[in-house]
């Protein structure tokens, strides 16, 4: 972990943070500082307004003919996955994810075997686990590779929020990846590097945003393209 940053260092980096171009451990350390410093947060917020204003300077252009109807057609397409599931089904899914995260975090294992002994009892344990980290809920999403599912990404909403990846054995997509968070408002935030495959069956990281803001987790290969992707369609299953 990078050494903690003081206000002066963070203020030096504030413009890059506001523009979303700060990188790596330097950025992580600055975000940790921001979480407890209202003055530096205010500066970054003001500079973010500058970034917003700059984008408005791009000259408006008439889009190609038919653009409007194509977008409206896209609006009408059904979402890739149902946003609402029956409550009992959703509860079982969340409870399963919760138990899986706990097991994965405890064992550090690449695969998770889960047996439930009733939703009610599991719910009590689930709540007890969440209370340890001031968390509210867990999420899970399939991690998709070039040839289908290669693992699972578990997300924990708390302070802080974090994600953990568990991989199936012998995946094709081995190597070093840049991990990228895509937020629901379209930002792309770096989450460090990950080495996956081989003996590395798990990977975890602290999110720079609340779990509810996470739309996609991407593992970007050396060609700059996302090799592994997990999409979180639901921000908060209890909404």
């Amino acid at each position: 972990m990078t050494a903690e940053m003081g206000c002066e260092q963070v203020r030096d980096l504030a413009a890059e943070l506001a523009l979303g171009i700060a990188e790596g451990e330097e950025r992580d350390a600055a975000l940790r500082h921001l979480s407890g410093c209202a003055g530096c947060r205010r500066l970054v917020s003001e500079l973010s307004s500058v970034g917003d204003e700059l984008l408005q300077l791009a000259p408006a252009q008439e889009p190609p003919a038919g653009f409007e109807s194509r977008v409206l057609t896209a609006f009408a397409e059904p979402p890739r996955r149902s946003r609402r599931q029956p409550l009992a089904h959703r509860w079982r899914w969340i409870a399963t994810a919760a138990a899986a995260v706990v097991l994965a975090a405890t064992l550090g294992a690449g695969s998770v075997l889960l047996a439930t002994a009733g939703d009610r009892r599991l719910a009590a344990g689930y709540q007890a686990v969440l209370s340890q980290g001031r968390g509210a809920y867990f999420l899970a999403a399939p991690l998709q590779g070039t040839r289908g599912r290669v693992g699972t990404v578990f997300g924990y909403q708390g302070q802080p929020s974090w994600v953990m990846v568990t991989l199936q054995p012998s995946i094709q997509e081995e190597g070093r990846f840049r991990v990228q968070v895509v937020t629901r408002d379209g930002r792309y935030l770096p989450l460090g590097d990950a080495v996956l495959g081989g003996a590395k069956g798990t990977w975890g990281g602290q999110l720079p945003v609340d779990l509810s803001a996470l739309h996609e987790l991407r593992f970007v290969g050396s060609d700059g393209q996302p090799t592994l992707t997990a999409t979180f369609d639901t921000a908060n299953p209890w909404d």
Binding site: L19, S49, P59, Q61, F67, D185
Partner: protein, 198 residues
Amino acid sequence: MALPVGPLGAMGVAVVRKLSDESLLAGLGSGDPDAAADFLRRFQRRVFGLTLSILRDRAAAEEAAQESFVRAWRHASAYDPRRGTVAAWLLTIARNVSINMLPTRRFDPIDPELIVTLEARRPLEDRTEAQVVDSELLREPLARLPGDQRRALVLAAFYGFTAREISELDGVPLGTVKTRIRSAMLKLRAQLRVSDDR
């Protein structure tokens, strides 16, 4: 279209056209077809203009603009007015989508000067003169920045180049690039503060 008719639709297009950006976004998120169409008409030229400025390819820019609107539709409930205007939120989405579509960092960026030396835009039919003036607040201050600061800032703000990437692109020390970006941003922030005080 499969979108259900919602409360805004019942008000009629003439009324919808006068709604605020926030109201239209709320209508878009709730599936109101008239609000969706009006939201699209209100912002499509600005969104496409930005994606085209970044990608410089009309087909790619159209794809990016479409993806931007779809994300806005899907995540309309995530918009927080305390963090900026609807236009700023939407253009940030468009910027991020476009940056992600740039092939690689081998990409040769447009001369950043072009973005700031273009003539001030004429008012669009769906924007008032005041709205245009508001969005032009930074054009002159940006043009007055030293050229090296302006270039670094535009590469970072529009194309998402990190300081390290700008350093490599321009063959300038990393610390110098960071200073240029910081100085430029602080000057423009001061300009925005002056505008707020008026």
